[in-house]
């Protein structure tokens, strides 16, 4: 197996590249971080081969856990010197396939997890990248504040640095936008080891005050948000915070026709009535509820405005034939952040302990196109029912997070992970969905290894420009190779 061959490969590389032996690599990293935070033991390396998705990556050569920006920069400089790639690891809670290169330096950032400052006057918090999203939010909650975005599905474990680097799609996207929308300033270690600050924090002469993203010229933060660590390593995030809204209202509607669900959601979008809207169009129905489409609506505001917005949203749903349901399911979901509540299942019965993997496929589409996407998915399922049944493939959800003016469709197909045939079918199915939908109207959110081959070639000159940036910023292709396929084809094999 690949993992066991790694020492041999590194010692006997015959391609003329100055790849170091593991001993040398480990020693040099130990010089930077000390012996306790560096490991080349297989027992440690084998724990860093995959994210939550179905596709295993390579086995890293060594794990290193820096505790400061200076250490991160020194590791990047060393990687350039030794021409060894780095994979940046937060908590690896993505579901797409992280793309860990064989033989890389795996840089785990979750020891850099401090809140450096909460600035209520400027309404920002500055944190190290390894801080867990929900933990930071909880600290703010103690003061009556919160992060300006509610956080992604993996909020109980995922890191802020990872969420920003992959621009995670968060709860509350309808009103609060994407994770990246609320980033104020970043500190980034560039692929050559230099450290820069973005936005107002770039002005060193003024004391690097972090309070405004769009100061000091181009929006450099935007360069690193969603770049999945390919253009720089985020070592500090200054993020917008807000007071916790005093009122919350919840609505839950079932519709006999899923297209009416989409129409209702679109009308609510135009009225800015919802803080967050989630549509359910596939997978199990909510317990005890008949319907073809379902809409959960969360409204957060001051009490008067919340009540007014609730009235607008309810009137819209009912005008499209929506039947009101018990909104406690919606509230439970919002409070617990457990998806099971969207279908009114307690988490323990919904998730259970079946060995099912989920090759996730997700992306943005215009709201009206949700109808086409759902029709496509349902027809696909219908025409492949026999195969699905034979391999025990199940649809967990065709769920939609409605954004301010569009939709984020999220397709979870479950397969029995220990069955190789079902596994392969599930992975292929994702690729088929991705290709079909991206050729029509979809553009993915977090692009990782599994989706990059599908979407990147479709970007045309945009892809070329990204490759141009990568080549100039990271000529040795050190950072996260294989994630966005930005390096020349001949070097795209993992770990080179």
């Amino acid at each position: 197996m690949a993992g066991l061959d790694i020492e041999k490969r590194l010692l006997n590389d015959d391609e003329g590249r100055s790849i170091p032996t593991m001993t040398e690599l480990t020693k040099r990293l130990t010089d930077i971080c000390g012996p306790r935070r560096v490991s080349d033991r297989m027992a440690d390396r084998i724990c860093h081969t995959r994210d939550c998705g179905p596709s295993p990556g390579g086995v890293p050569a060594v794990i290193v856990r820096p505790q400061s920006t200076e250490e991160v920069a020194a590791i990047v400089e060393l990687a350039n010197e030794l021409k060894t790639s780095i994979f940046v690891w937060g908590r690896s809670t993505t579901f797409i396939g992280a793309g860990i290169p064989e033989g890389c330096i795996l840089m785990a950032l979750d020891l850099m997890n401090e809140i450096e400052a909460i600035d209520f006057e400027s309404q920002v918090v500055t944190v190290q990248p390894g801080a867990v999203w929900h933990a930071v939010d909880t600290e703010l909650n103690k003061h009556g504040w919160e992060l300006a975005v509610a956080g992604p599905g993996g909020m109980f474990s995922c890191t802020i640095g990872g969420c920003v680097a992959y621009n995670a799609v968060p709860h509350g996207i309808t009103e609060y936008g994407m994770t990246g929308d609320q980033v104020v300033c970043l500190e980034v270690v560039l692929p050559n080891g230099e450290v820069i600050n973005t936005g107002s924090a770039a002005n060193v002469a003024a004391g690097s005050l972090a309070f405004e993203r769009y100061a000091n010229g181009p929006d450099l933060a935007g360069l690193f948000i969603g770049a999945c660590g390919t253009l720089g390593i985020i070592t500090k995030v200054t993020y917008r915070i807000q007071r916790i809204p005093p009122a919350e209202r919840f609505l839950f509607y079932a519709f006999d026709d899923y297209t009416k669900t989409v129409d209702a959601a679109q009308a609510i979008q135009t009225q800015s009535a919802a803080t967050f809207m989630i549509g359910l169009f596939g997978g199990p129905n909510p317990v005890g509820i008949e319907g073809d489409g379902f809409l959960h609506i969360i409204i957060r505001d001051n009490p008067l405005a919340a009540e007014e917005r609730r009235g607008i949203a309810a009137a819209i749903c009912e005008s499209f034939g929506g039947n009101p349901q018990d909104w406690h399911a919606t509230k439970n979901y919002w409070v617990d952040h457990m998806y099971s509540w969207l279908r009114n299942f307690p988490p323990e019965t919904y998730y259970s302990h079946r060995p099912y993997g989920a090759p996730e496929m997700a992306g943005f589409i215009p709201t009206p196109k949700v109808k086409d996407a759902i029709r496509y998915l349902r027809e696909y399922k219908e025409s492949h029912e026999e195969e699905f049944a034979r391999l025990d493939i199940r649809i967990k959800c065709y769920d939609v997070y409605f954004s301010r003016n569009g939709a984020f469709l999220w397709i979870d197909t479950l397969y029995p992970e220990q069955d190789p045939e079902a596994w392969q079918y599930g992975v292929n199915l994702r690729a088929t969905y991705a290709d079909d939908l991206c050729n029509q109207f979809m553009s993915p959110g977090g692009i990782l290894q599994a989706l990059a081959p599908v979407i990147m070639p479709k970007l045309g000159p945009g892809f070329e420009f990204l490759k141009f940036l990568k080549a100039h910023l990271d000529p040795n292709y050190i950072l996260n190779p294989g994630v966005l396929l930005l390096q020349p084809e001949e070097t795209q094999e993992a770990g080179k």
Partner: protein
């Protein structure tokens, strides 16, 4: 044991292979790392906190287990270190997104490692065939003949009775006051009880070491001597022993125990709730915080009984630590890790002690001899002024 990789021959049949489905069920979400709803800096897993690398935490050990069942790696000394550094605190299982019984997987790993002679050095010696545990049936290297030295009246040994007080090795050999307190509580509440003349270690160390056959032997011995006395109930002051009896024995032996097993604090709480029991005023007034022992709390779900008792003592004010009940952080004494990983045990205990101090309490109460002993040691190392008290002492000194 050397940290160098020591591959051993793979047995054709491994315990871990039976858990493939459970292992594959882990979706690697990472919820086993933190208690994020309390804020930053609240770890869930003491082994991961000390070991730093993921391999020490539950997600890592599941990754290792998966690589083992997939045949990608084989058992070695590094894996042994990571598996046996676990305090068996069940914190990872408490909030597993997939509700997996992580500890069963870890025990299968331990059993395989034991069969491959890959136990950590000191723990391996402690459960070996010529150990004190094998010869004298306790891990304290004390003669079995001294097991009842704490007992003031020998007349209550092996007497047919409704209730057996299972003393446990720690109270019997190194914390006599705990044994006495429990004995006196039972006496004061008028229980018809006895103690065993030939009590053996409950088997918990063997379970932790993956020595399942030896665990079965001692379990069967203890069941035999208890049932011979016709007892319908066994009372414990050690939640580790209680968990072994109540949870592990039926699973390992394959049958239900012929008696009820309860912790002394459960029995007292029942009496308090029934209004049959009250306490003297605690003077001077004191503020206490309660540490949930892992086997009693997450292991057996006993969270309310100790709080019922503490709240019933006039003059005591109970304040909670941030990590309480299901979220309680292990004291560091679990899994018998002190044999080989004392630094990890002390770090965990220190973290917990500091958390207790942060509440403003002057006394840290627990309901477990291992917690008591470990906290006392850590307190001395930290020169903390926090009093460490077992709940049996508190109950006994306040019974009206």
């Amino acid at each position: 044991m050397s940290s160098d990789t020591k591959h051993s021959e793979t047995s054709s049949k491994r315990h871990i292979d039976a858990f493939k489905e459970v292992i594959y069920s882990c979706n690697r979400c990472g919820q086993c790392f933190d208690v994020s709803w309390l804020g930053t800096g609240y770890n869930r897993c003491p082994a991961y906190k000390h070991g730093i690398f993921e391999s020490y935490g539950a997600r890592g050990k599941f990754n290792i287990a998966r690589a083992l069942v997939d045949g990608v790696i084989e058992y070695d000394a590094d894996i042994s270190e990571r598996v046996f550094a676990c305090t068996d605190c069940r914190a990872c299982a408490a909030y597993c997104f997939k509700f997996l019984d992580t500890v069963r997987v870890f025990r299968a790993l331990k059993a395989d490692l034991a069969e491959r002679d890959l136990l950590p050095t000191n723990f391996g010696a402690a459960v070996s065939g010529d150990s004190s545990l094998a010869r004298e049936h306790n891990v304290y290297d004390a003669p079995q003949t001294e097991r009842l030295d704490w007992l003031p009246k020998r007349g209550q040994v092996d007497v047919p009775a409704d209730t057996v007080f299972f003393v446990g090795c720690t109270a019997a050999f190194v914390r006599h006051n705990m044994a006495l307190d429990t004995w006196e509580i039972l006496d004061k509440v008028g229980a018809d009880f006895t103690v065993l003349g030939d009590e053996w270690c409950c088997g918990h160390p063997y379970l932790e070491a993956g020595r399942l056959d030896r665990a079965r032997q001692v379990m069967e011995h203890n069941i035999e001597v208890i049932t011979a006395l016709g007892a319908s109930k066994v009372v414990f002051n050690c939640p580790g022993c209680l968990q072994t009896f109540k949870k592990d024995m039926p699973e390992l032996l394959g049958y239900r125990l012929p008696f009820e097993a309860v912790h002394i604090v459960e029995q007292v709480a029942d009496l308090v709730e029934a209004g049959q029991f009250s306490f003297e005023v605690h003077l001077p007034k004191a503020v206490v915080t309660y540490h949930d022992p892992c086997p009693l709390g997450r292991g057996l779900g006993v969270y309310d009984a100790p709080r019922t008792v503490l709240n019933a003592v006039p003059g005591l004010r109970l304040v909670e630590m941030p990590r309480q009940r299901e979220d309680a952080y292990c004291c560091g004494a679990g899994g018998l890790i002190r044999y080989d990983y004392p630094d990890s045990a002390v770090e965990s205990g220190s973290d917990r002690l500091r958390e207790a101090e942060s509440t403003g309490a002057d006394t840290l109460v627990s309901a477990c001899p291992a917690c008591l002993m470990h906290f006392q040691q850590v307190r001395n190392q930290l020169r903390s002024r926090l009093k460490i008290v077992d709940i049996t002492a508190l109950i006994n000194s306040h019974i009206r």
